[in-house]
Amino acid sequence: MTQLLRAFGETAILTWDTLRFAVRRPLELGAILEQMFRLGVRSLPLVGLTAVFTGAVMGLQVSYTLSAYGARLYVGSFVSVAVVKELGPVLTAVMIAARVGAGITAELGSMAVTEQIDALRALGASPVKKLVVPRMVALIVMLPLLTVLADMLGVLGGLYVATAEIGQAPEYYWAKVREVLTIGDLVSGTGKTFFFAYFIGIIACVNGLGVRGGATGVGRATTNTVVAAAIAIFISNFFLAKLFLFLQTTFGGGLW
């Protein structure tokens, strides 16, 4: 229990420091771009693969399992809403937590146990500014972009099943997509990922910087990051979904 409280405390402090240093000059643009490439661009294959097959399997299940309810005609509607509102954002975030979150904790953790973090401090630099800020910024920028891409690929996966497996005309599939999908869905789906990116980044950095106890410590912290980030994503997803649904119904209007 005290451990949990300490974790929250450390997270809050690091969040505050990150905000403070993020606006302080110099902006370390080079480091940020490098992280965007490493965390974002390098994750494209993984995220793309996950999205295509998730969209495809959704199409399959809608077409066959729900066919008794006449769902087969609405593959485009089902797949696009499910992918854009939930599956795209959540699965992308979980995959990024596994690939990037774990990587950040392992890297910062190894730096901590080899005194490199202390060396940064001793040389008059801030580990938050040098290490945490670039990774946080890169995650918060790249995760939403990756999610939009995943959304598109997921819907394309559904399109493949609709045309190749159940012989729908592509135009028909797209018409069904456009019938239900709104800008609001995209905004609420992608909007969640800013929060997911924050959770992944801050959990990964707190765990990495706090590593004690050599290689074993690094391993433990890395596992912990993936587990904690995944839990944070799933739990916050529920409340964020509620929040965005509330916003959509309250301020909805035509567009939403």
Binding site: Q116, L120, R121, A122
Partner: protein
């Protein structure tokens, strides 16, 4: 800009002749998880001198050194550098002090994501040196630690342990700090390189007036580079005196340590 020496910082601790101490440690206690490591350390380091801290493995030498630049905070007691109390300072406030005090880590602590050049350039760039000055300075310090200029392009994990240590030393002295803290500068080096490093520490002191604290358990090196010796044992300074005094000291713990005999009081706690 880069050679600012901060000489006009206010000073508190003084020696008998009234000379102000550059580094002043008073009554510092530190425990980790309830296990006391330092039980009240008093130590002054005066400008231009080389103070050697001797002590067995695990006696708290590295911990003591870390307190000086605020990498660790004492549970009790006071640490002043140039008269400024560092124990309550925030990380931001510590930056100017850390730029004045070079730190050689026991394991080198090179950044393994950067090559040797960028490692040595790191503190220079942080201190706002221009790139032109940096490219001049890096080969210069490499030469000081007896490394070829070609080493600059290598990554740290391609270097031998001894070379890594020398690169770390080059990084620590690159900004021409006013004081340098060496954590076991010669451990793991061959005798020839050890001599080079000992002479480097000496010449930094003679030529540039650098104040040094050298942690070591290499007694040879301690007597070669030190002006004064402090012997850390049981969480306290068990002996403090000049090299000559250390040689002729009759303190049983120091004698045992110098002669390499075991002594029950070496174990802390």
């Amino acid at each position: 800009m880069n050679s600012g020496r901060g000489a006009d910082m206010p000073v508190i601790c003084r020696d008998a002749s009234g000379q102000p101490a550059l580094i002043c440690i008073a009554g510092v206690e530190k425990a980790f998880g309830g296990k006391p490591v330092l039980r009240g350390i008093d130590l002054d380091v005066f400008p231009g001198e080389t103070l050697v801290i001797l002590g067995g493995s695990g006696s708290g030498k590295s911990v003591t050194l870390r307190h000086i630049v605020g990498l660790l905070k004492p549970d009790r007691g006071m640490v002043r550098v140039g008269g400024v109390a560092v124990q309550d300072m925030s990380e931001d406030e510590l930056i100017p002090i850390r730029r004045q005090v070079g730190f050689l880590f026991q394991g080198g602590a090179l950044f393994d994501s950067m090559n040797v050049f960028d490692n040595i350039a790191f503190p220079l760039r942080e201190a706002g040196w221009e790139e032109r000055q940096v490219t001049e300075r890096v080969p210069e310090v490499l030469q000081l630690v007896d490394l070829e200029p070609q080493v600059a392009d290598q990554m740290p994990d391609a270097l031998s342990g001894g070379m890594r240590k020398r690169v770390a030393l080059a990084r620590a002295i690159a900004v021409r700090p006013q004081a340098i803290l060496y954590d076991e500068p010669t451990t793991g080096l061959d005798p020839v390189t050890s001599t080079t490093i000992n002479e480097l520490i000496r010449s930094m002191q003679r030529r540039l007036g650098v104040t040094s604290v050298v942690v070591t358990h290499d007694i040879d090196s301690a007597f070669k580079v030190g002006d004064r010796i402090a012997f850390l044992c049981g969480g306290r300074i068990a002996f403090l005196g000049t090299v000559a005094e250390a040689r002729s000291s009759t303190d049983p713990r120091l004698r045992a340590f110098l002669e390499g005999r075991p002594h029950e009081e070496f174990e802390p706690g």
